[in-house]
Structures are given as C-alpha cells and as structure tokens.
Symmetry: C2
Subunit: 406 residues, 2 copies
C-alpha cells in the first residue's frame, strides 16, 4: 500500500487544522493507503525531508486538532518555479515522493497554494507519475473561485461580527457624539468586512456604514455619511476593509498622510488614517480599532459549521483520491440557503489557482456604504454553531506544537 | 418602604452588568426596599431625571444582563464638584433622592466613581441625611486599593491570555525569525499586561517578554532582550503595557518618534512605536497588535468566577445597606489561593477613592521584563470558569439597550 503526504501553506486560519484532521482521519481509515506523513512548513518540508508521521494519531488528538488555531504543520510562502526553470526542484519533490512510496499529496491552502497544487499536477502528468495531487481550500479572505466559500472564513466572520457587536455596546455607553472605525482584513476582497453586518440586531444597527474594496472610496462622501448620521445615531460605527482605495486605485492609508496638531505627518493603517480624518473634519470623539491577526486566530470563537465543513473537505479529498481523481481542489456547492445545505464536490485546480473572487457589486448598496440583504442571506449559515473547547486553568488548551518552535 | 437608585460610571467592563444584576436582584428580594431605579448615564441621570424602573425585571432578564458587555445603564465621566463650590449640584441630587423616596444609592465604578460615592457620603453626613451611599467596584485595570481584585479584571485577563495564546500559535507557523508585540491596556498599572503570562503552556513560553509601567523601560535593554532571544526562540512574543515609560517618566509612544523609510515621522501608540524600533534596530519581520477595546468588551470570553463575584458584590451591597451600613465600597478578601476562596466584605470608601494600586515590585522579575510565580498564583483563580452565552443566528445575544441609543 502507498503512503500519503499532507501539508499546509499560506496564512493561518481557525479551520485549516480541521481540514488536516479530516485528511489524517481519512487516510487512517482508508483501505487503500498506509501511512500519513505531515510535511512541516508546507512544500518546503518535502524539499528538506522534514516530516511528522501522523498515522498513529488517536481519535482524541484528531478531535482536538480540528478545534485548534493556526497551522499544526507550519506554513511557508514558497512559490514553485515554472517547470522550465525549476526542473531540479520538481525532481527533488518527486524523488522524495518515490522514496517515501507516496500515492497522494494533499495541500491545504489558499490561492498561492492552489498554484502549487496545479504545478505539481502538471508535472506529474508530464513525467507520467500516477501520484494523485489534491488541493483543499482555506482562507479567511473567502476569495477562491468555484467553491461557494472557503474554510476559515465562517469562523473569522463569526469573530468579527461578535466583536463588532460587543464594541458597539462598548461605544453606546456615553451620552456624547462619537465615531468608532473598525479596520478589518481583506486587501482585495471585502467578504470579511461585509460579515460585520451580522452584528446588527433589531435594536442596534452597528455597523452603520460599511466600505469594501470592491468600490471606490471617496473621502468627502465618507465625511458626509458620518455628518448625516451623527445627529440622530449619536454613535456612528464604521466597518472598513484595510484595502479600500480611491478612484485611482490608491490605498486609503499610509500614502495619504494627515498632519497632526504638531504638524507631523501621521502615517498609519486605514483605520488610523480615517480616525485622523474624522477628527480633523468632523471634530467629534473618534477611535479606530484594527482587529488584526485576532480575526484569523481566535479559535475560541470558531464557527462549528465552518470547522465541520473544513473537516469534511479534508476527509472527502482522501475519498476522491481513492476513487482515482487528481489535479483537483475540493469545493463546497451550496444547494439551499434556508435550511442551509451543501454538497462537497471537487473541481479542476487549474480553474481555481491564481484567480480571485470579489464581492459581487449587486451585494453592495448603490451608495457603496453598506451591503444588501442578499449578502446577509449568503453569510448567515456560515457562522452557525459553537465549538466546545477544552479549557485548562481557564484558558483554551490546544495541541502541542513543539515541533514548530524548537 | 423606601426605594433605591443604582447607576454605573467610568469605563465599561464585561462584569459591570453582573454587579447591576446583583443589585437589582438584591433589592427585588429585599423586604426593606420597594423599587429599584436605574439612573441612566451615571449620576447625570439623577441630575436630569432619567431613570429606568428595574423593579419588574424577570429573573431571566437578570441572568442575561449579568452576562452582557459594557453598561446597561450607560456611563458618564462626571466629577462631582467640591462640596463648597457645588452646593447646587448636591442639593439637586438630594432633592431628587427625597422626591423619589430613596433610601439607598448604589454606584458601580472605578476610582473616579468612588470619589463620587465618597463625596455623596460626606454630603449626606453633613446634611444629616440617612440615605445610605454604597460603592461597588469595577475596573479592568484592577487598580483599586483594599479589595483583592476588581470585577472586570478577571474577564479581561482571560481574554488577553486566550488571545495571546492564539496569536502565539499564529506567529509560530513560519520558519523565519520574527517579533510580535502586543500592546495591552493599563496606563499606570500593569495588571492586565501581567495577565498575558497566563497564556504560557509547557510547550509555549509566549509571551517571552513582559514590560509593565511599574518599572522604567529602557529601549536599549529591550533591543538586547530581543536579540538575545531570537537565535533560539525564533519567534519572540512581547507583551507591553500602553503606559510604559522611560526613567524620566516619558511615555514610550508618540512623543518619541522614529522616522520611516521616507523620512516621515511615525507617530503612534506604544506597540507601533516598538514595532518601528525593532524593525530599524533588529531588522527582522515584526508586527504589533493593539488589543484595544476588545479586552474590556469581549463578553464572549468572560471569566465565570469574575461574573459570579461581580454579581455577589452587587447583591451584598444591598445586604450591607439593609444592615445599616453606608459610606462603603464592597470588597473581595482572598482567604486562600488553592483552593481559591474569598469573602465579600466592605470598607470605608474614603480609604479607597482617589488611590491606585500598582503591581508590587517583587511580583516583577529583577530585569523588569517578566512577572514572577507569585503573580501567576495571584492571577490564576481570577480567570477560572466559562460562561454559557445565548446565541441567536450564531452570534452572542445581549439585552436590548435601546434606551441608550435612541
């Protein structure tokens, strides 16, 4: 029987270890495969010969792994060379596969990782290798094409909406006009920022304004939006993507600087920049918050449906490979919004790698300062369900990752 | 029977509504008091006549209230004038008390709020009023004297430690040297930053360095600490109080600016400043994260022991008043670390108002870049236990606060 290798790549999410757990579980239970090796630090582990044998993983470990943040196997930001220029690299990888008697290689990642899956697939075909190459999606940015959504996105969305709601409560307490600006990840796609709309309730409309990178951001219109809302909302709460830009494509951040009261240029992120803008042009109390890496690492607020799907996408990748498939990425096909239902399928990775999915313009309102009901309908199922964590001494406990830190 | 007023003041915490719930529960069940009114926006609600009648609160509402973030009654940053200068203000307050047949006034807050409790106590004594004035502590900063700790601190500590652990997992994934700097609230007291040490496990020492405002911060020593650790830790994670300062008392933040690569002065918070410092003097990948208001509003990660104590401190304030006490703040007296036990008591508010409790120097290591075991022993019981929230559509649901926003 042949063995398998699994690796993780790109930025971390709360769900990527759930897909790893799915692959491990699938291979352990497979009657067609023997061992499952984890390549440490993505494809680089293959090149360096750094592996963990995960075949003896207990079901308890697999369960705990599925609920843990970041990447148990570590990551890399390594782009495979073109086949023409990088024959040595490809040969090294496939020599390693042969030495280890590998029948399938599973790569869990986002856009760039699917480029690796695609290139390895092409190379396998070229050299007549029958090693199966499979991609499993993950990215908090939700910007992979073909699949309805990506693992990691739902949990990040749940964390963002929860934090937005809690920050709204925090903001409402004073009887004075104020503005809160929350900067959310997403340089090119606004999915995560859009998810902040899930914070709304029948008695709290926060965020009152939402700006995504899919439309052009106009500073004057933004200031007008704030001034229009302040008199009757009192506390105006704004969600903004880090990647918003003006009509010429210039990012609204460090590049355009506001001078502070001492005449010093104030350079900073998008939220900080808008904070200074509101402060100088509206003159009310204003604060900016950058949620930062918390939105992609907060396993304590994971979406159960997200982790369940991520696990399935890993598990099903093994099944698809067992059935002879290769050169694919597993995908989620939504079959119904309410009640939510979906199917796990697979699509040629060549149709997915190096492409990006933006928020459709029709899911953004005309003024470009909010999302539509269609967006909320899309988002709602993805944040459903809570995950029961293990706590030790009051703090969530996650698997030992000594192999990464020592 | 007389009625009671309860109000909240100062900055929000995750536990202050639990104390409010305790007071409401105590008065509803009291045989000595009739109605319980909530004064909206602190003592200003008394001056403006803005009250909510909370007497009919259901036990379900009280339970939900106890788990909700920020301040149900809203807050104010209003300092009562001295008795000599502000006779009109005091007369207005006590006239209102008389009109509403008030027997006791409960004020939940931090340092400044205890100043209000003290002043109202003194004034009541001066005019021979028998209205009981009681303070109930809350502050994430944990800097009130006499009480072992303050409600809100344990939950913020739990959130900080959890987030720190998750961010450490997030940081460890790349096989390159890097520094993560996490800026935590606390301008004058380092309790919250110290709590980040609870993130440590047997296999993750993050945060590797902890700097509190109770010692002087030396930039050269900081850079040496980083350089010393990087070669064998690879990813160095730093927790730093927003209020760290040099030996002359100057804050390490905006005031001392680093120029960026374009020669522009880079002005910002403590974390951002240190990020630039490490970037220019160590030259490794570096990121700073400011946890910001999330640490005081994240009810989804509340400490059960914190909320339980906060509730008791409110409930017992009613009992102490029923027994004839006034001019006090309820306090927590720790009677044992392991197993953790405590008593709810009360102390004269005059001994508490306008004082601040710093981290003892002996709970900080000699080098001033870590905390000691004594600190951990102190902290551990305060983050114990998890709170079961109500979720609607996947997001935590909290009480309607329309009365604050409309």
């Amino acid at each position: 029987m042949k063995n398998c290798i699994v690796a993780q790549s790109g930025g971390p999410t709360v769900a990527i270890n759930a897909s790893l757990a799915g692959v491990i579980d699938g291979v352990i239970k497979s009657e067609k495969f023997d061992k499952i090796y984890g390549s440490v630090h993505g494809i680089q582990g293959v090149l360096k010969g750094e592996f963990l044998d995960l075949t003896q993983s207990s079901s308890k470990f697999i369960q705990e792994l599925a609920k843990s943040p970041a990447m148990y196997l570590g990551s890399c930001r390594f782009k495979l060379p073109n086949m023409e220029d990088g024959k040595d690299t490809y040969d090294a990888i496939f020599d390693c596969f042969e030495e280890m008697n590998i029948g399938a290689f599973f790569y869990i990642g986002g856009n760039d990782s699917m480029d690796t899956v695609d290139k390895l697939s092409q190379y396998a075909k070229k050299i007549g290798s029958d090693i199966k190459i499979a991609g499993i999606p993950k990215t908090i940015d939700n910007d992979l094409v073909v699949t309805d959504h990506t693992p990691g996105f739902g949990s990040a969305a749940k964390y963002i909406a929860t934090s937005m709601r809690e920050m709204a409560y925090d903001t409402y307490i004073y009887d004075i006009e104020s503005v809160l600006i929350v900067e959310i990840m997403g340089r090119d796609a606004g999915w995560l920022t859009a998810a902040s709309a899930l914070a709304r309730t029948e008695f709290s409309e926060a965020p009152h304004l939402i700006y995504l990178p899919e439309t052009n951001f106009d500073e004057d219109e933004f200031i007008e939006d704030i001034k229009r809302l302040l008199p009757y909302k009192k506390n105006v709460i704004v969600a903004v993507s880090e990647g918003i830009h003006d009509k010429d494509g210039n990012y609204i951040s460090a590049t355009s600087a506001v001078a502070d009261k001492f005449g010093h240029a104030q350079l900073s992120g998008t939220g900080k920049y808008l904070e200074n803008l509101v402060s100088s042009r509206v003159g009310v109390k204003v604060r900016s918050v950058e949620i930062n890496v918390l939105q992609r690492s907060a396993a304590h607020m994971a979406s159960k449906s997200d982790l369940d799907e991520a696990f399935e996408l890993g598990l099903m990748a093994v099944k698809f490979v067992e059935n002879g498939n290769s050169e694919f990425m597993t995908t989620i096909r939504r079959t119904s919004n309410e009640p939510y239902s979906y199917e796990i399928s697979h699509s040629p990775v060549i149709d997915i790698a190096n492409k990006a999915k933006s928020v459709p313009r029709e899911w953004i309102n005309e003024a470009g300062n909010d999302v539509t009901e269609d967006m909320l309908t899309y988002l709602k199922p993805l944040v459903m369900g809570e995950v029961q964590l293990s706590y030790v001494d009051g703090i969530p406990s996650y698997p030992n990752i000594n192999h990464l830190t020592s």
